[in-house]
Amino acid sequence: MAKANMSLKRNVMPTQDAKVRAHNFDEVALGYSEEQAIDEAMRCLNCKNMPCVAGCPVKIHIPEFITKIKEGDFEGAYQIITRSSSLPAVCGRVCPQETQCEAKCVRGIKGESVGIGRLERFVADWHNTFCTEQPVRPESNGHRVAVVGSGPSGLTCAGDLAKKGYEVTVYEALHTAGGVLVYGIPEFRLPKKIVAKEVDTLKKLGVKIETNVVIGKTLTVDELFEMGYEAVFIGSGAGLPNFMGIPGESLKGVYSANEFLTRSNLMKSYLENPETPIMKGGKVAVVGGGNVAMDAARNALRLGAEKVYIVYRRSMEELPARREEVEHAEEEGIEFRLLCNPTEILGYNNPEDPRDPKNGFVTGMTCVKMELGEPDEKGRRRPVVIPNSEFTIDVDTVIMSIGTSPNPLIKSTTEGLEVNRWGGIVVNEDGLTSRNSVYAGGDAVTGAATVISAMGAGKVAAKAIDEALGK
């Protein structure tokens, strides 16, 4: 085997040029070549105590799979990852590795940590391109489990149970499986064909996916038990978008990030002649600083916006989005208006003609400048309004990306299901809810969080369900 690679810098991820990619929906990051992957793998020191594994919500055996890459056994590496993760090609793209596995990497103490996420992506893509072997459906153990929602938590729970021989049916409210992976995360960050491939793999393992079924409406949780399911996992995801409560939020041209991204991704309104409309072009302000805000801003740019602003009330240091997403957004020309908070959205109003078709459309947004005051109880410095600092940004579209509250449908139709005061389903450490044999995880429990934490919750619940039913 070649010698360890002691370079302080990791292999750079090849990407589409910023000027080019700002106008297309193709994937931004292009992925490592075999040579780059092996070179990067050589940076791993194969630490005995495996700090990186402790940082992974689904406990992938990281040094083990990287060792396989060093040996050029990419399929072997894939097999190690799939022991722990049902969605490697997805996680390799959207996990915040820099705060998880990579944050614990010893190489990160002096220099850059090993590009674990990039290696995971490489391995998954290699498998998807070159492996023709079909997953084998395990023998049924006769137990039936229903999963509500086909997002990351639901797919993970379903996959883990199917591998153990459970007969799993996933119920999805929308017309396509994948949840936030298809309606929320844009094509340029996570191509839909990758999600479809992962869903397909689950189907080959015997998982049934029923789209167009809204649990809580079409069928209730109680009816699922009557139908013979012995356990139910609820991964119904994030719910209604939050708005700021400022004047003008109902003007035409104001979207929640959920709506904007759903129109573009799930409903494909980014196509040339879409069936579902979306406002394209003009000047766009995205309010918020999370990953969803970055996705919305970069999506608006690709839809042809001439100018896109991120409006965030704290400074760059507090901005919660992944660094990589922020850097990509900046490279593409998104302008960050930091320490800035909207107070009103302005609309066109022709007093002479109430039937003027321009009436009620957004024309601008008034904001105030902020400064950071004393730290609050969590240690985050509180933004404070600077008096008389009001100014107006000229925009046609405003996208509110300030979080969501858990989906209200299931709790309102499931008796005895305890929720907290934010509407999140209450669960114990096994993902078990206040109802017998009903488990939950993901955003339905925590409120908006990451794909990988939802997967972690799906995994925990699958293990608990197996322990409860498998005896």
Binding site: A173, L174, H175, Y183, T211, N212, V213, V214, K217, T218, L219, G237, A238, G239, L240, P241, F243, E249, S250, L251, K252, G253, Y255, S256, N258, E259, T262, R263, L266, M267, K268, L271, N273, E275, T276, P277, P357, N359, G360, N407, P408, L409
Partner: protein, 284 residues
């Protein structure tokens, strides 16, 4: 895929379809809605359930051709399939305890009002129905309304059938004559519902309105269907898909809802024309 079992053209722009969807048929109640897509890559559109047949697992929808998607749907024939059909969504109309109700329907909204009138009639309530259309050619469901109404008033804008005038004329007349309704339930164009509320207001009669804003998922995720309500002097945001589609008519900001409803007016007009052109090409 969901099979169209039966098709009936009710008037030049309104079509009725019975669609096979047993799970939806089993659950749907008056006032709830479904979302459908005609084909792959199609738009999701919400339509209120106009009736169900639990015996053969079918759901009735009645729609007006207003844009590209409804145009495409109107070309579908019995025996053909549509891509997606999901529901029932929204909260059913609250009918418990109502003894004397006035149903006010306008245009294709009458299709949604009809199952509510039927349900009330079945409960033994006294049902007064006022249904309005632009003209005689657009009249739908006359026999059905007659069968479940104690009193039926048919109004046309041009006087070509029934009585001349809009639906608020007989409503006002009845209220002024001292009729006491437990509830007025109105379904139709926003502007009509706004005036029904204004007509009822001096008499303090409760009014339920059925809202049909722009919507995508219909399950409480996208927030596109938001409405502003004035509740005790405070502005409150509600979502038609999970909080509605029925609301207290006195609380709705109709002007805002009307403005939001026109957000994609240009797009819809182009899509409608494109659908027509596509069909013409196929025929040629």
């Amino acid at each position: 895929m969901y099979r169209i079992v039966d098709k009936k053209v009710l008037n030049p722009t309104v079509v009725q379809l019975w669609i096979e969807a047993p799970l939806v048929a089993n659950k749907a109640k008056p006032g709830q809605f479904i979302i459908l897509r005609v084909d792959e890559d199609g738009e999701r559109i919400p339509l209120t359930v106009a009736g169900v047949n639990k015996n053969n697992g079918t759901v009735k929808i009645i729609f007006q051709v207003v844009g590209g998607t409804t145009k495409k749907l109107s070309y579908k024939e019995a025996g053909e399939y549509i891509q997606d059909f999901v529901g029932p969504l929204g909260v059913a109309t609250h009918l418990d305890g109502l003894k004397k109700v006035c149903i006010v329907g306008g245009g294709v909204g009458c299709a949604i009002a009809m199952p509510i009138a039927e349900a009330l009639h079945g409960m033994g309530a006294e049902v007064t129905s006022i249904i309005g259309f632009r003209n005689k050619d657009l009249l739908i469901l006359e026999d059905e309304f007659r069968a479940c109404s104690d009193t039926l008033r048919i109004m046309t804008d041009d006087g070509s059938y029934g009585e001349h005038g809009n639906v608020t004329v007989p409503l006002k007349e009845m209220l002024e004559a001292g009729e006491k309704f437990d509830m007025i339930i109105t379904i139709g164009p926003l502007i009509m519902m706004k005036f029904v509320v204004a007509t009822a207001k001096p008499f303090g009669t409760p009014v339920t309105v059925s809202m049909n804003p722009i919507m995508i998922d219909g399950t409480g995720m996208c927030g596109g269907c938001r409405l502003t309500l004035n509740v005790d002097g405070k502005k409150v945001t509600k979502f038609a898909c999970v909080d509605g589609p029925d609301f207290n008519g006195y609380e709705i900001d109709f002007d805002e809802a009307m403005s939001r409803g026109r957000m994609y007016a240009d797009f819809e007009r182009h899509a409608y024309e494109a659908s027509c052109n596509l069909f013409k090409k196929e025929v040629e």
